[in-house]
């Protein structure tokens, strides 16, 4: 068996536990168990005095993409596609941008075009959520008293968006907001390509098999369910979308918002709308004028170009660090 959902003990109420937990869902790349462990201290640093009371889970699902890549022997074809895309765009926007776009397109081929790949990732995702809810119940917190937050990045935002809708549409998972009381306290999207994928996959028309929530004709939405009394309840209590001004995956291109690529889930009762945060980003990792002066003087002294470190506008770690002091307010119950 290739996948086992992570399980962790939650603190009980009499131990100071408040039913909080965090799930991290990674994005593009060849992620293996352990690849994102470096994020945990960064997140804990933002959770203040509650840091050690909150279990943090990480969902690693990239092995499923590997299954499908190997099954269809399409690595070479995908490589050709990436080369072609990079070649076509190279003249216009530069290599760094092309690389990001090409990787996104290649990585989303499976969940967009293959029903099986899409469902397999959702089964792993569902297992992880079910396990978290059971861990919380074992500590004495029924699902509707739990405060589970999801922090997702890049392609993980698509899987999270789809999973949230599946929780509402597939009663057999027992992750339903009103039938099972599973409502997520926070979903924090970082560099979400959900709208970008909606635009690209929507353009492919009938080539994309049905069932993607992000392609619903009504537009992007927070999933909503009805109580037995007919009251609508959202599946997510606090929906946050963070994009970087230089991160094309999140829908910004050189500080300009691209409406066809930027995820903006509109207010629609009972959903109060998403909290949109745009990070001001810089290409160069030079924090001050003095630092720049130092770099230039070093370059002059050494008579060669100084090495100026470049920022990765898509870095998940940087997104988390930039919002460290908001994590406590979002994730920790007062």
């Amino acid at each position: 068996m290739g996948f086992t959902a992570q399980t962790q003990p939650w603190l009980k109420r009499n131990q100071g536990g408040k039913g909080e937990a965090v799930l991290l869902v990674h994005g593009i790349g060849n992620a293996k168990p352990g690849s994102y462990d470096f994020l945990i201290p960064k997140i804990r640093a933002g959770l203040g005095p509650n840091a050690d009371k909150i279990p943090i889970y990480i969902l690693y699902y990239d092995f499923i993409n590997d299954w499908f890549r190997e099954k269809t022997q399409l690595e070479k074809t995908l490589g050709d596609c990436e080369d072609w895309i990079q070649h076509r765009l190279a003249g216009e926007y530069g290599d760094a941008f092309n690389q990001v776009v090409a990787e996104v397109l290649a990585d989303v081929i499976w969940p967009v075009l293959s029903l099986a790949a899409r469902d397999a990732v959702q089964q792993a995702f569902a297992q992880q959520l079910q396990r978290m809810v059971m861990d919380g119940m074992a500590a004495g917190f029924p699902p509707d008293f739990q405060n589970i937050s999801i922090l997702c990045h890049s392609l993980g935002c698509l899987h999270t968006y789809e999973m949230l809708h599946r929780c509402v549409n597939d009663a057999s998972l027992h992750l339903h907001p009103t039938d099972d009381g599973v409502r997520f306290a926070n979903v924090i999207y970082m560099a979400s390509p959900v709208q970008l994928i909606r635009s690209v996959a929507g353009g492919l028309g009938p080539l994309v098999p049905q069932g993607l929530a992000c392609l619903e004709p009504g537009g992007l939405a927070c999933p909503v369910a009805q109580t037995p009394g007919g009251d609508p309840r959202t599946g997510v209590k606090n929906w946050v979308a963070i994009a970087g001004a230089l991160d094309p995956v999140g829908g910004y291109f050189f500080r300009r918002r691209l409406p066809w690529a930027y995820m903006d889930v509109p207010e629609k009762l009972p959903f109060g709308g998403q909290k949109s945060l745009i990070d001001a980003q810089d290409w160069l990792s030079v924090q001050s004028e003095a630092e720049l002066r130092l770099l230039l003087s070093q370059a002059l002294a050494q008579r060669k170009a100084g090495e100026v470190p470049l920022n990765d506008p898509h870095s998940w770690g940087d997104y988390i660090v930039r919002h460290q002091n908001q994590l406590e307010a979002w994730i920790c119950v007062g």
């Binding site: 299954w67 099954k71 998972l173 037995p228």
Partner: protein, 307 residues
């Protein structure tokens, strides 16, 4: 009749139930605790219509238990798995619906009313213990089901699964919306298309060549058919015969060049029709024409990306 079916169901599930952490709660306890929460919240005044339905469902559950000699509700729960659904006696189906309704009201309107009334969270949670036990059992079932589904995907797509060439991948993409090919509520469908040109066959017998050693030569065949998967559960312990049983079997139509077995482009050459069968990694094919021929092979491709 109903009672007999219940006994049968319970006995079949008995082993699983004894291993699972069985709930100490009964339908009556679930109903009573719900009614206690209902009166504590003053639910009648807050949502009179919903209260009436809720109360009626709880009382109906109590009556049901009296009539059926105290069924532990985990029995009902076990029967919620899709495979067993057809086996559920009518009353158990009704009990499930009542329990679901009670659970939904308890988690939503009744909880709101209790919170509004200032009832502390600890008290609400303790009142709802039978509901929580029911939810925990449901989640365990759902978790096992998700695990089973993912394991089926692993058997079909994971390491060790047969690979698809470009033509087969294209066909699989086109057919994925049809039930036996694409995903269903149990995971991947059982069927996969086979469409390949394989050069890895060995001709082992030809009616034309009486001398068997001379018949041993490389063979090439076009194959068009279907592959059928037998999915197993992640924790299944196969017996001796189970170990021999392959995870998949393919069969279909085969074509070989009439004049020479080793290469066949299909231009103006004549061909011999036949059939092929793959069981696990072993392949056997037979073609008919002027002379019958038998080929054997192993599931691999000499030339990558050639289909």
């Amino acid at each position: 009749m109903d009672l007999r079916r219940i006994i049968l169901l319970v006995s079949v599930l008995g082993c699983a139930l004894s291993q699972a952490a069985s709930s100490p709660f009964t339908l009556t306890q679930l109903a009573d605790s719900s009614l206690a929460a209902d009166s504590l919240a003053g639910f009648e005044a807050v949502k009179p219509e919903l209260h009436a339905k809720f109360r009626s469902a709880a009382l109906s559950l109590k009556k049901m238990e009296a009539r059926q000699d105290g069924i532990d509700f985990t029995d009902i729960l076990k029967a919620t798995s899709p495979q067993a659904f057809a086996e559920i006696p009518a009353d158990l189906g009704k009990a499930m619906r009542e329990m679901e309704f009670i659970k939904r009201v308890t988690l939503n309107e009744l909880k709101d009313a209790l919170v509004e009334k200032g009832v502390p969270a600890e008290r609400i949670i303790s009142l709802r213990e039978p509901i929580s036990a029911y939810q925990m059992a449901q989640l365990k079932n759902a978790y096992d089901e998700s695990r089973n589904r993912l394991f089926r995907y692993e058997q079909r797509y994971g390491p060790g699964a047969p690979r698809l060439n470009i033509a087969e991948a294209g066909l699989a993409y086109l057919l994925q919306g049809l039930y036996p090919f694409g995903p269903n509520r149990k995971g991947p469908g059982p069927l996969e298309p086979v469409a390949r040109y394989s050069t890895s066959w060995v001709l082992t017998y030809s009616e034309e060549l009486e001398d068997i050693p001379r018949a041993f030569t490389v063979g090439a065949l076009y194959e068009f058919g279907l592959r059928w998967y037998w999915y197993s559960a992640p924790d299944a312990r196969p017996g001796f015969w189970g170990l021999l049983k392959p995870n998949f079997l393919s069969a279909g139509y085969a074509m070989a060049a009439s004049n020479r077995p080793w290469f066949f482009l299909g231009n103006d050459e004549s061909f011999d029709p036949g059939f092929f069968v793959d069981v696990g990694l072993i392949k056997v094919a037979m073609t008919f024409g002027d002379y019958s021929r038998v080929f054997v092979g192993k599931q691999f491709q000499f030339i990558p990306y050639l289909f």
